[in-house]
Amino acid sequence: MATVTTSAGPARAPRRSRTFGGGGPLVYGLAAVVVALTLGPVLYGALGGFRTNEQLARDPAGLPDPWVFSNYQGVLTNDAFWRYAVNSTVVAVVTTVVAVLFGVMAAYPLARYQFRLREPLFLVFVLGLLFPAAVAIIPLFILVTRDLGLGNTWWGVALPQAAFALPMTVVILRPFLMAIPRELEEAALIDGASRVGVFWRIALPLSAPGMITVGVLAFVASWNAYLLPLLLLRDEMRTLPLGVADYSTEHSADTAGVLAFTTIAMIPALVLFLALQKRIVSGLQGAVKG
């Protein structure tokens, strides 16, 4: 609980007193190596998209010379790409909304109510972390396609994904809800608000930082998901990861086109994650130590 509040401001760290000062050339050298290894493959993809296949074949590691924009243009004017992007977006948004809403609702009584089954109930969610989606994937495929008739639909992918995101959501959100000062809720109750009203008007808004953390995690997990969409979605309904994988096998000769396609496909998750990086770090910290 305490960690959530202390970790909320990593920005505080740089203003420390000068202990064990900066780095010599060795430290910067090592950092440069780490950066090169980390960014190398991503930059290769991004820059490769600006080259022609002929350039790529001549010198795989070279820079674009001249820069060509036709690969990216080709992807952005490709109807299939936009269809995949829409599918990915809708599935990710539905997954996120369901996981966060149901998750915060479940976490609330686990944080605030006193009842006998509270800890066992929490344990159910903790255990849920141990159920890898892979274990249930084949029956899940049968359930969604045959029993529910949701095969090849947005809901058919989003609902199972939300269900598998719920354990993590609840485990991260509970400490956030516990950290909300009890006095606020008690005061509202005295003033005649119902418990549900307290949840809606006080607990929900005040746990927004935690909800953003789990929301981004759920969104990015859905955006990047492959296994479940692979089994459930076909043709027009495919999401971007499926599109990327299929495109790269169908157009294996067009390396530059594949690289442009992959680069554009990774941008949304990257932007979202980097924009909210601090929030997510503090949320994860709270879950790890909380």
Partner: protein, 328 residues
């Protein structure tokens, strides 16, 4: 997401006057009238949607996998050909599966042996007061956000035999790259896969360790410095021991992740060449979809779950337990 964002700014303003009143009325006693029925109904209302969703899409499929594992079933008609433990016998005798289990364990062990020290070293490095530290931290985390599929497709290009960038680099250092390429030589593929996995997931370790390092009070470093300790001594005697719980938590997450490995393998090698990189997950998906051996897939699922569960429980008992007891 959009909802929460919209509600958030209004919250503190609305909550504040309420808080002040709370202090004055505190004396009146506990206000939350714990009327039994009402309370129970509220708890049910809050918890039911989540539990129902998990029951349908997590618990039921897992139960169905267990049931399926006792039948020979090709995916159509009634599931009535009960074969007892036969599927388990088939799976455990299938060398492709036992190799797959082996591959999963190799990845688990290699991750702990390589990624832990490497992640720790980079975290300690980035925890120093160097210029552009914030930017460096962000960069290190980039691969983690990239989808496994996308990482797989890009690395597949990098690892192409002959004209790929990796082969080029290897030749530039004066070594000879393998003729079939790093993904086509059975003895090398698993190691190659591990390198790509490390690239992809090291950022998570670094992120968690950095978060743990920020929890180390600055006073401890100052005291150590006054006592004449070197940077390395301070890390070894202060920072690393205090990181214990964080490292153990990371190890747990890494272990569970390694056991479920699928996406990257599927894109990069498809389990090949010659089954050199199959994992339990690729095995069961292959059996369930390509071959319609649902019973076998079910048995493999159950084995995967049991392995993950037993490892998690053992880890909880022997390793994580220390943290909870120490904390008290």
């Amino acid at each position: 997401m959009a909802q929460t964002g919209a509600v958030a700014p209004a919250a503190p303003a609305a909550a504040e006057p309420v808080a002040r009143r709370a202090v004055s009325r505190r004396a009146t006693g506990h206000p939350a009238g714990s009327g039994g029925w009402r309370k129970r109904l509220e708890i049910l209302l809050f918890v039911t949607p989540a539990l129902a969703l998990m029951a349908v899409f997590v618990v039921w499929p897992v139960v169905a996998a267990v049931r399926m594992s006792f039948f020979r079933w090709k995916g159509f008609g009634p599931m009535d050909d009960f074969v007892g433990w036969n599927n388990y016998a088939l799976v455990l005798k299938d060398q492709v599966f036992t190799d797959a289990v082996m591959h999963n364990f190799v990845i688990v062990v290699l991750s702990l042996l390589v990624q832990l020290p490497l992640g720790l070293a980079i975290a300690l490095l980035l925890n120093r007061k160097i210029r552009m530290r914030g930017l460096l931290r962000t960069i290190v985390f980039v691969p983690y956000v990239v989808a496994e599929v996308i990482a797989g497709v890009v690395w597949f290009q990098l690892l192409q035999p002959g004209y790929g960038v990796v082969d080029g680099l290897v030749s530039a250092v004066g070594l000879t790259p393998p003729e079939q390429g790093f993904l086509g030589t059975p003895s090398l593929t698993l190691w190659t896969l591990f390198v790509v996995l490390t690239w992809k997931y090291l950022g998570m370790a670094i992120l968690l360790f950095l978060a743990g390092l920020q929890g180390v009070p600055d006073e401890l470093y100052e005291a150590a410095q006054i006592d004449g300790a070197s940077w390395w001594q301070a890390q070894r005697r202060i920072a690393i021991p205090l990181l214990g719980p964080t490292m153990r938590t990371w190890a747990f997450l890494s272990m569970i992740g390694s056991l479920q490995l699928f996406d990257l393998v599927w894109v990069l090698t498809g389990g090949g060449p010659a089954n050199a990189t199959t994992t339990m997950a690729t095995y069961l998906v292959n059996q369930g979809t390509a071959r319609s051996n649902y019973g076998i897939a079910g048995a493999a699922s159950v084995v995967l779950f049991v392995v993950a569960f037993v490892m998690a429980v053992l880890y909880q008992i022997f390793v994580l337990r220390r943290d909870t007891t120490e904390a008290r």
